[in-house]
Structure formats: C-alpha cells, structure tokens
C-alpha cells in the first residue's frame, strides 16, 4: 500500500478571546494511493480543521504541532513559498459552499486561469484551453459560456463542478473534498459524487472526503475515519465499519440510521459535544460513553490496529 498522506499526532490549538480552544487532539490517519478516504464526524469535531492543516491555510491564531507527511515530505516544516507551490497543484481542495467560494466580481475563466498560471508558466491561451477541456470533463456543457460568466450566473451544482474542475486543473495527487455536497440539492449531490468517483478512476488521484453524512460515505469511500471532538476514534475499510463497528461512538452513530423496515428503535446518544475550551480529560468521549471505566477519565487511548486495517482508539480494546 503506497501511503500518500500520513498524519501523525496532529494537535491544533486556536487562541481565542475566550481562551485556548484545543481543536485537534492528536489526529492520526493515512491516505493511501488512489483511494477514497472518508472522514466522518459531527459539526465541530475538527474535520475541516484537519484538512486545512494539511494545506496550512489556517487562520493566524492557530498553533499547529505534529507531523503531516505527503509523498515522503514533511509539510509542517516547509516554508510558506514551498507550501504555496503545493497548494492547488499537488494537493487541492474542494470546499463546502460553492456559493461563496468563488469571487463574485471576477469571471470564472479569469479565476481558473490565474490558478493555472500561478503554478505553470503558460500563456493565457494555453491556460484557457486546459480549462475548457477540464470543464468538459466535469460535464459542463458549453465551456466557453461558463468561462465568461460570473459566479452568480451559475447554479450551485454548476459552481461545484467548476470548483472540481479547478481542483483538477494541475493534476494533483490528492484532492481534499470538504463536504462537497452538503450545500447542494439531493439530486445534484448524487451527480457530483458520481462525478468525483469517475474522475478519480480516470486520473488516479487520492481523495480525502470529509462529510457528516454516513450515506455518502457508504457509497463512495474505500476506507473511513470517524472523528469525535478532535480525535480520530476509529479507522476501517468501509464494509468492516458497517458490519463491525468497534468504538462506542461509531456504534451510536450507526444506530441512529433508520432501518427501512421501520422496526428498529432509534436510541439517541445522550449528552452533547464537549467544549473545546475545556475538553474532557483522558478520552474525550468518556462523558457520553456507556462503557465508561476509570482509566477512560485519565488516559487518552491510543489508536491501535485491532484487526487487519481496522484501528480503534478506545480502552475497551486495550488503548494503551
């Protein structure tokens, strides 16, 4: 298995007027070559912060420590200029909200051309050709019209396709898709997801797909990582996750998916998402866990491989 991206012990703190928010509490995950890796969790669990840490586009009040190795190189040690070269060309990102991700005062073509020319010394003509073929790739008919349109003239779905085309423009080896379909209509969601998978097969890049929707994960991902309050609590191949969820949180998540027979009772998870300013000690899930033991309050469990490619971070499975 060729490891494209390897995150180890990633801690991210934010300095806020109200105190230090410890958003990421030691994130560990790998993304393999050519796979679609899903990151699932509730709002606020740190999924987006993880992805922004990879590209190092966090706001000024963020403090990062740990390791992020991409294609054998440590990203956290790179200079700003080196990162700039990577952004958009080796690793690119598709954001959640296509409505606000494009500058409303510039034509689509101009923004895309600038992205291309920021990384390749090509003329505007050439860049335009590259872009037009990409727009065709993302199934946008009439690329020349799109290129000379302003963002507000396109629909949400079309804009997201434009974002995907932009993400592809420099043939990156990793695309981070941060909730790419959350802001779209259900029918459009389907199309965009299919598109991503199609392109992935065609171009062979890895995908880090961030979402809160287990349904999306089930349909598109090869492996999944579950995040809770800044921790990665479980990582597994997709079938194993659904057939044999190990972490109590994962189990709770899966149990609230309604059964089509309508017979299963939905048991909600008690408690609420912890404050990141004053997070719980030890395992951050412990206040809500049915299987709580003393050790859970004191020690944060380590992510261990319990069976083949199935990792859990929980004292139930020997998390020391």
């Amino acid at each position: 298995m060729n490891v494209k991206l390897s995150i180890r012990d990633l801690f991210v703190d934010f300095a806020t007027p109200l105190g230090v928010a410890k958003v990421l509490n030691g994130v560990n995950l790998d993304v393999y070559q050519g796979e679609v890796f899903g990151v699932v969790g509730e709002t606020g669990c740190g999924k987006s912060v993880t992805s922004m840490s990879i590209l190092r586009v966090l706001p000024q009040n963020a403090y990062v420590r740990g390791s992020i190795v991409f294609e054998g190189e440590e990203l956290l040690e790179k200079t700003e200029e080196e990162m700039r070269e990577i952004r958009g060309s080796k690793i690119s990102m598709v954001f959640q909200d296509p409505m606000t991700s494009l500058n409303p005062l510039f034509k689509i073509g101009e923004q895309m051309i600038d992205v291309v020319r920021a990384h390749r010394s090509v003329g505007k003509r050439e860049a335009l050709d590259m872009i037009s073929s990409l727009l065709a790739d993302v199934r946008l008919s009439d690329p020349s019209r799109i290129v000379s349109s302003y963002p507000h003239e396109l629909s949400g779905g079309m804009k997201q396709r434009v974002m995907i085309a932009m993400a592809l423009s420099l043939k990156p080896s990793l695309i981070i898709a941060d909730e790419p379909t959350t802001a779209l209509d259900v029918t459009v969601q389907r199309q965009v997801l299919d598109l991503i998978l199609e392109l992935q097969e065609k171009y062979g890049f890895s995908v880090l797909l961030i979402t809160h929707d287990l349904g999306v994960v089930a349909e598109t991902c090869d492996r999944v990582g579950i995040m809770y309050a800044g921790d990665v609590v479980e990582i597994a191949p997709i079938e194993k996750l659904f057939s044999n969820p190990l972490h109590p949180y994962t189990r709770a998540l899966l149990s609230v998916i309604p059964d089509i027979s309508g017979k299963k009772r939905l048991t909600p998870l008690g408690g609420s998402v912890p404050s990141l300013l004053h997070p719980p000690t030890g395992c951050r899930f412990h206040p809500r866990c049915r299987f709580l033991k003393d050790v859970c309050r004191q020690d944060k469990p380590i992510l261990l491989e319990v069976e083949d490619e199935h990792f859990v971070s929980c004292h139930l499975y020997g998390g020391r």
């Binding site: 586009v57 958009g88 954001f95 606000t100 991700s101 005062l105 507000h152």
Partner: protein, 339 residues
C-alpha cells in the same frame, strides 16, 4: 432598467437637488440683516445711490419675483456681480476654480496613493505594529484641523528647514523669467505641456505643502475604509479559495481582495472629496492659494453675498455631481447589482 436609463434618472434627481440647493442659497441671502444695496454701493453710500442700487438689484420687488430673476440668471450662467470686485462672480470663479481644482486633484491623488496601500497592509498585517501605527495615523488624519496643520508644515519646511516656499502657487520671479502659457489653467500640466520646466519645478514646490495638508483628511478616511473592508473581505470564502490554490500573495491581496473591498473605499473618496473641497477653503487661506477658498474667505470678510452665494452654488453643485459619478461607478463595477 438599463444602465443608461438609470444614469438619466439620477441626473434628473441631481438637477432637482441642485434646484433645492439654489433655493436655500437664495433664502439665506435674503435674510441678511444688513442692507445689500448699501453694501453694494460700498463706501459713502448716498441715499440716491442706494435707491438706484435697490432698483438694479430688484430689491423692491416681491420675493417670488426676485426668486424668478435669480433662477433665470442662473440658468444663463449668471451668478451675479461681486460686491467686492465688481466683476461678474462667474468670471471671478472661473479663474479661481482651476487653481482649487488642481490643488484638490493633487491632494486626492496623494491620498489614494498613500491611503490604499496603507489600508491593505494594515488589514493584511492586522494587529501588528504596522497596523496599530497606521490606525493611529488614520484617526489623527481625520481629526486634524487642516488649517493648523498647514501652519505647522510651514513652520517646519519654510521657517526651520527652508526648503519649501511659504505660499502662493508659483514664485513671481520665476514666472517673470519664464512666462507660462496658460492652456488648461493647471500650472503643473501647462508647464509640462509647454516644456517650461522652471515653472513646473517651482509650481511643484509650491503645491506640495498645501496639497499634503489637504490630503491628510482623505488619507485618514481612505485608510480606515480600505482597512475595514479588507479585513472583512479577507475572511471571505473566496479569499480562502485563492489562498488554498497557492496564488501569490500580492495577487491575492491587490487583485482579488482589493477589488471586492474597493467600492466602499470609492465611496469614501467621494465623501472625502466633499471635505477636501471645503478643507481647501481653509488651506488656501493659510497658503494664500488663489482659489475658490481664498475668494470665498475674502467674500465672507467683506460680506459679499453674491460672491458667497455663487461660490456655494458652484461648490455644492460640484459635490452633487461628484457623488453622482461615484455612485454610478459603483453600480457599474458590481456585476451583481440589478437596476
């Protein structure tokens, strides 16, 4: 409606407003406590002369008729005759206008050239020492009494350093030695166009201090506006996108972010124009600059109501139309605004 229809609509509105302005000016000129006829005649007014003046100035007729005469004259471009100089106010203003205009243009240019980059840098390096320094400067600029600051600059550069002249537009000696052919009324432009570098250099030296004094307020305004808008824009998702795609910093800030932030900055340029216009009055007094301000100040001192009214109308009208232009540019620049 389309853009040009909107322009027409705004133009008509502007004319209506100017009408209102003229009316107010007329009203204030008629509530004058002293007798305009007596003032008109000047020193040693005889009863005869006053009577004659009253007829000439239509002062015996009912108010609404006077108003009608006034409007009628205005439409023909007649702003009355100055009590002080006894020239037509319109011709007095014509010569003064270009002097003031040159001053204002240079001042606004300085303000934009300094204010915009300062605002951008301030926003990009928010809360750093650069930011704090520029914020202090900006607040000071907006609070500074221009007439006082001009004096300070004169003290420093003329009195103690001796490198810049005290007042006027151009040195009389230089002008005598190298007579200037006046084309546009703007000395800097005219001297360049006619290759008269001696005058150009001298005029430049003369305009620096008053223009800089005048620019301090708009610098403050523009810096604050640009900074505040840039700070907001920099938090927007579309800036996050271009940053995540590795665009060079300069392009992110000066092309992408600035364009979104510039519209309110434009508004503040328009706003600052108003202050600059009136500030010019005060600065011209300090630097003895032969423009509208000095003319108005002299008019005020000698209670020359036609002149005061004339200046007011010209200035207010200019203000109305500058604001109109700023508005229209703003509408034009933003492709989202649907008329």
């Amino acid at each position: 409606m389309r853009f040009w229809e909107y322009v027409a609509y705004r133009l008509i509105l502007a004319v209506v407003v100017v009408f209102g302005v003229v009316t107010i000016v007329f009203v204030t000129s008629r509530i004058v406590p002293s007798d305009p006829a007596a003032l008109w005649v000047g020193s040693h007014p005889t009863v005869e002369a006053i009577k004659k003046a009253r007829i000439e100035l239509h002062l015996n007729e009912p108010l609404w008729k006077q108003y009608a005469y006034y409007i009628g004259a205005l439409v023909k471009g007649d702003l009355g005759v100055s009590i002080r100089t006894h020239n037509s106010v319109a011709s007095d203003l014509r010569t003064a206008f270009s002097a003031t205009f040159e001053l204002i243009v240079v001042a606004e240019a300085i303000a934009i050239l300094i204010g915009v980059p300062l605002g951008v840098v301030s926003a990009v390096r928010k809360d750093s020492w650069v930011d704090n320094l520029s914020r202090i400067l900006a607040v000071s600029g907006v609070s500074l009494p221009a007439f006082w600051f001009g004096i300070i600059l004169q003290l420093i550069f003329f009195r103690y350093l001796g490198i810049l002249p005290l007042s006027d537009r151009v040195g009389t000696i230089v002008l005598l030695q190298h007579p200037l052919k006046v084309l546009t009324g703007f000395y800097l432009l005219d001297s360049l166009l006619t290759g008269n570098f001696a005058v150009f250099w001298d005029a430049l030296k003369h305009i620096i201090l008053p223009a800089f004094t005048l620019s301090v307020y708009p610098i403050g305004l523009i810096t604050r506006q640009v900074r505040s808008m840039m700070v907001e824009v920099l938090q927007e998702n579309y800036v996050r996108t271009v940053r995540a795609y590795g665009l060079p910093e300069r392009q992110i800030y000066y092309k992408y972010a600035l364009k979104n932030a510039i519209t309110p900055a434009l508004i503040s340029v328009g706003l600052s124009f108003a202050y600059t216009l009136v500030g010019a009055f005060l600065v011209e007094l300090v630097f003895n600059w032969p423009g509208l301000g000095r003319y108005a100040a002299n008019a005020i001192l000698s209670m020359d109501y036609p002149a005061i009214s004339g200046v007011t109308i010209v200035v207010a009208t200019t203000y109305v139309f500058v604001n109109l232009v700023v508005d229209l540019i703003q509408v034009h620049l933003d492709p989202r605004i649907v008329l």
